[in-house]
Symmetry: C2
Subunit: 267 residues, 2 copies
């Protein structure tokens, strides 16, 4: 993947699309169980990627009209190839081709972390909402991640993931900032709730679905950026990956927290 371009840190490969679909299935209930839009609502999904979360929202909210936008033509082609039936529009969040006040709700999942100006994006999205409309945001926070055994190599590999995303202008620690960001962008009634994922040996489905098939591939995904940026030497990085895999196996534990924020546009 290109470093320095305004791009998605995890890349656009087929493997990455599989990782995102796995992640969506494992996390779907945890993240989306309380996202419900009334039938007839016009909902904007800002930053749909290949549609992993789009499907979740569409499936839980029958009768809505969903418009999904993304900056990447390749992601939108992937979404179409996977049969995504919603309207797909290419565009940048800060300059979308929609009239002000034209949406009932806005949904944003795993997107703000990749933007250089997340508050500017929120201000732009607020303009597109009708008065009384809501925004829902879901983001991770890579500083919420801890595990056992906690080895220095694992911490280095995880740190490479964080640094690589920061190097291209993203904020992988954005979850904890959602409340001040959303209030700062002018939304009212802002409420944040945390969704924590925990895995130990008694939860093999979470160890497999989350640690082995979501977290480890995400770190593997920065192998090249890590080398290109000279962050962590290759041997340490590979050892760190092995150590992270071990946290999702016998005797291991793993914790990660997602943040969900909602806000309302007042007149």
């Amino acid at each position: 993947m290109a470093i320095g371009a305004p791009c998605y840190i995890h890349g656009y490969s087929e493997d990455e699309a599989v990782r995102l679909a796995d992640q969506a299935r494992t996390l779907a209930d945890l993240l989306h169980h309380d996202t419900r839009y009334a039938s007839g609502s016009l909902v904007l999904e800002a930053g749909c990627g290949t549609g992993a979360q789009t499907r979740e929202i569409a499936g839980r909210c029958p009768g809505i009209s969903l418009v999904s936008v993304d900056l990447s033509a390749a992601s939108l082609r992937g979404a179409k190839a996977r049969g995504l039936a919603t309207d797909l529009v290419r565009g940048e969040i800060a300059a979308l081709p929609f009239r002000d006040e034209s949406f009932d709700h806005v949904f944003v999942c795993f997107v703000l972390e990749h933007l250089a100006d997340p508050e500017g994006a929120l201000v732009a999205l607020r303009r597109l909402l009708r008065t009384g409309g809501t925004i829902t945001l879901i983001e991770g926070d890579h500083g919420s991640c801890y595990y056992h055994p906690a080895t220095p190599a694992a911490a280095s590999a995880w740190g490479a993931l964080v640094s690589a995303q920061q190097a291209i202008g993203g904020d992988p620690l954005i979850g904890r900032r959602l409340y001040p960001l959303v209030t700062g962008a002018g939304f009212a009634d802002v409420a944040v709730s945390l969704r924590q994922v925990y895995a130990d040996e008694s939860l093999p489905g979470v160890q497999d679905g989350f640690v082995q098939r979501t977290i480890v591939p995400m770190v593997e995904g920065v192998r090249e950026p890590n080398a290109a940026l000279g962050l962590v030497d290759s041997a340490t990085f590979e050892q760190g990956l092995a150590d992270l895999r071990a946290t999702g196996g016998p005797g291991g534990t793993f914790c990660y927290t997602f943040f969900r924020a909602t806000g309302v546009k007042r007149g």
Copy 2:
């Protein structure tokens, strides 16, 4: 406080007792809402300190007989002075003056983190349980703490808290290890659940009760150990304390996770 002695890192002062009582009130429901022992049960509380958690358990479980032990005579005197009505016994967890299999349940809260051999303590406590009896453990994990704004000084002050506790043989990151520790000590049906505390401006009670009156005083409590151990220079430590206070005020956010584990003694 003395460094190097087998002591409680947070000290035994009156301020510390007030901090513990505040902490207990704020966290009581989060930590203890699902701890219920049948009337008539004989319950051992291992490491009762000044009785902050003892009261919670006794209040929620009418009709139980509670025996509370602690290593510190000063803590037991404090517990008595505060009117704690349960049986109080001085002793070390690994060598308590009770017959094997004499308790129905064992309750341990904020204790393992201070022990050099937590698994040994769990094995000793398992001996005191009757077959079919349960153990309940509640511990923090200082690696689960993150906040906004995240300043280097705040990280240094928090790191001093972690290092000071490690320097006297404790493990302030023990929460994530509860599952392997409790299974390793021979308990069956081990289940771990996480209790996350989150504070932002919309939750002033949590900002005050948890950040300002629990977290900040806990870090303040290692001011002297920090100096004695030469961990973080005094100016950085004080700036870090100020920065941590700010995470519990306007625009700030704060996260911390407690771990609760239960296990059963099988024959």
